[in-house]
């Protein structure tokens, strides 16, 4: 566990003088959050990445699980992060606050990213990550590709079937959320809006059946049994058309959401579905 002397001096200096972090071209970046993991992998040079969060390699939540295996993994523990001597730490709004405070008090620059709720948040976070990593032109390229693909996906949609995002315990996701925007971009109207739900909430099975959506989109279920997930196999849902979507692409606001949009469009009548 060696720390380069120059780094050590910088750290001591930071501790002594509370030096403001110098960005521009950070060389050892640590990410503590699944979503910043992905933006980091997308926008940084491989040798800029010091470590990623421990769920970065879980294929159920991370669309870049394969790629993440090339990098060291951290446990999110302040002591461990400090010993990796990062010059930039990326965290999410819901990262353990104690860890963030501890790292900041040790003079390490910590940048907090809020979870993306819509496509504008994605654009802003990509641009911000590019700035922080000293790779703004790479972010610009990614943004251009993103806009181009989004335009191509949304092009040619004339009808908007009514769909419901339905998960365990009868929980539905409204139009204001990232999942809601993915659904909308794929060319569907969200049935939660008709039920008066804009963020998320319980949609009783009876209400769902009475609203008669053209499509029910359920998440994949976990191993083991739960009564919460039994609702997704209830016979009352059988007359409705339903598809299962896996979660990883839906979790974070990265260009991977466009893959989720494309997957959904396989069930859209304007995009080739019968």
């Amino acid at each position: 566990m060696f720390v380069r002397p120059s780094k050590l001096i910088a750290l001591v200096a930071a501790l002594l003088f509370g030096v403001a972090p110098i960005y521009g071209n950070p060389q050892r970046v640590v990410s503590l959050n699944l979503c910043t993991d992905q933006l980091l992998m997308l926008l940084a040079d491989a040798d800029q990445i010091a470590s990623l969060s421990k769920i970065a390699t879980d294929p159920r939540t991370s669309p870049m699980a394969q790629r993440a295996q090339e990098f060291p993994i951290n446990s999110g523990d302040a002591e461990e992060i400090f010993m990796q001597a990062p010059d930039l730490v990326l965290a999410g709004t819901y990262t353990e606050q104690g860890t963030v405070q501890m790292l900041r008090s040790l003079g390490i620059a910590v940048e907090i990213f809020a979870p993306e709720q819509n496509f504008d948040d994605i654009r802003q976070n990509i641009a911000r990550m590019g700035q922080l990593l000293g790779n703004p032109q790479r972010a610009d390229t990614m943004l251009r590709d993103f806009e181009g693909r989004l335009a191509q996906l949304t092009n040619g949609i004339t009808q908007r079937p009514r769909a419901a995002l339905y998960s365990a315990n009868g929980y539905t996701t409204g139009a204001e959320t990232m999942a809601g925007h993915i659904l909308s971009a794929a060319g569907f109207d969200n049935i939660a809006t008709e039920a008066g739900i804009s963020w998320g909430g319980t949609l009783p099975l009876e209400t769902l059946v009475m609203l008669q959506p053209d499509l029910v989109i359920t998440g994949s279920t976990y191993p083991g049994h739960s009564r919460s997930e039994e609702i997704l196999r209830h016979p009352a849902l059988t007359p409705l058309k339903s598809i299962t979507q896996t979660g990883a692409k839906w979790v974070c606001g990265t260009p991977a959401v466009l893959d989720a949009v494309a997957d959904l469009q396989r069930a859209h009548p304007d995009k080739g579905a019968k």
């Binding site: 976990y222 083991g224 209830h234 016979p235 009352a236 007359p239």
Partner: protein, 325 residues
């Protein structure tokens, strides 16, 4: 004696009310015609969501009332109740074990059979520990031990489950709920309820004789060992099957025979039939309350039953405290 007609009419009224109350508002005429034809979304709601729920309420309540009256008659102790003495808790444990290990998915009777197996163990344990005389103190102590153990094991199994939702379901298995149950659940529970119910009801004459004491009953030609075995298997079958689909609902088997006893006299055979009807009425009413008071919160059936049942239970303890000391 007007008790049976009154209970039957109440049962039918509440059954209809149960079919007509839900998140969807529709006129009574539309609802009933949709129930028969099954046409359109309202037909799906009536036939696939509300009808199985109402039927399960009758099954759960009826079997709990019947099992409570039978246990109380056999042990000659008004505190013998499936929930209180751990039979329901053991059935929950059996159901949870078979669901989490995947055994329940092997064949359609696997789930109720696992719950039944654990409840047989619990009933046998109670009978051994409490003795044939069914003295109150040892009965309650044995029941507390079995309840606590099975509750703790249920929590442990759910905590160890790879499914992130499983832990949140501890409360379902301990409190019971009928929300969003389907006909799949009715078909799982129904055969066991019918067989168990018939076995227990057939014990009427034996239990009547037993109310005079075991020696007297034996001289009247009652086969004690056979009576005991029939009771154990019958009660375990009913409680196991209903708990496997609706969780453990407490207090019904305790409160219902207690309320009805004054109307039917002390004859266990009459009390069993009345308690089955009364239990069904009570669960139907409680499940209606669940849906009317907090429709969006999936209020647990056991919570409502405990709120209604606990005061009656305290009253019962107050009245019998001389025997307990």
């Amino acid at each position: 004696m007007r008790l049976f007609p009154i209970l039957s009419i109440l049962l039918m009224l509440l059954f209809c009310a149960s079919l007509l109350v839900g998140h969807t508002t529709a006129s009574i005429g539309d609802s009933l015609s949709a129930l028969i034809t099954g046409d359109g979304p309202l037909g799906t709601v009536m036939q696939d969501i509300r009808l199985p729920r109402a039927i399960l309420a009758v099954l759960v309540g009826g079997t709990l009332g019947l099992a409570g009256a039978a246990m109380q008659g056999y042990l000659r102790n008004p505190l013998a109740e499936p929930g209180l003495i751990g039979i329901s808790g053991a059935a929950s444990l059996g159901a949870v074990l078979s669901l989490q290990t995947g055994f329940a998915g092997l064949f359609w009777l696997a789930l109720p059979l696992s719950a039944l197996g654990m409840s047989v163990l619990a009933v046998l344990g109670i009978l051994v520990l409490a003795g044939r005389q069914g003295r109150s103190l040892s009965l309650i102590l044995a029941g507390i031990a079995i309840s606590a153990l099975s509750g703790a094991m249920t929590s442990l199994v759910l905590n160890l489950s790879p499914n992130p939702y499983a832990t949140a379901e501890i409360v379902f298995w301990m409190m019971g709920s009928l929300s969003d149950r389907s006909f799949d659940h009715v078909w799982i529970a129904l055969p066991f309820c019918i067989i168990g119910g018939a076995m227990v009801l057939s014990l009427g004459p034996a239990l009547n004789a037993l109310s005079l004491g075991e020696d007297t009953a034996a001289t009247m030609g009652i086969h004690l060992a056979r009576t005991r075995l029939t009771l154990v298997i019958g009660v375990a079958a009913m409680i196991g099957a209903t708990t496997a689909v609706a969780g453990a609902v407490g207090f019904v088997g305790l409160v219902i025979p207690h309320i009805l006893r004054r109307w039917v006299g002390a004859r266990p055979s009459t009390l069993m039939g009345a308690s089955a009807l009364g239990g069904a009425v009570m669960i139907l009413a409680a499940d209606l309350l669940v849906r009317l008071v907090l429709p969006d919160r999936d209020l647990k059936l056991g919570v409502v039953m405990a709120i209604l049942g606990a005061p009656l239970f305290l009253h019962l303890i107050y009245k019998t405290r001389a025997d307990l000391s």
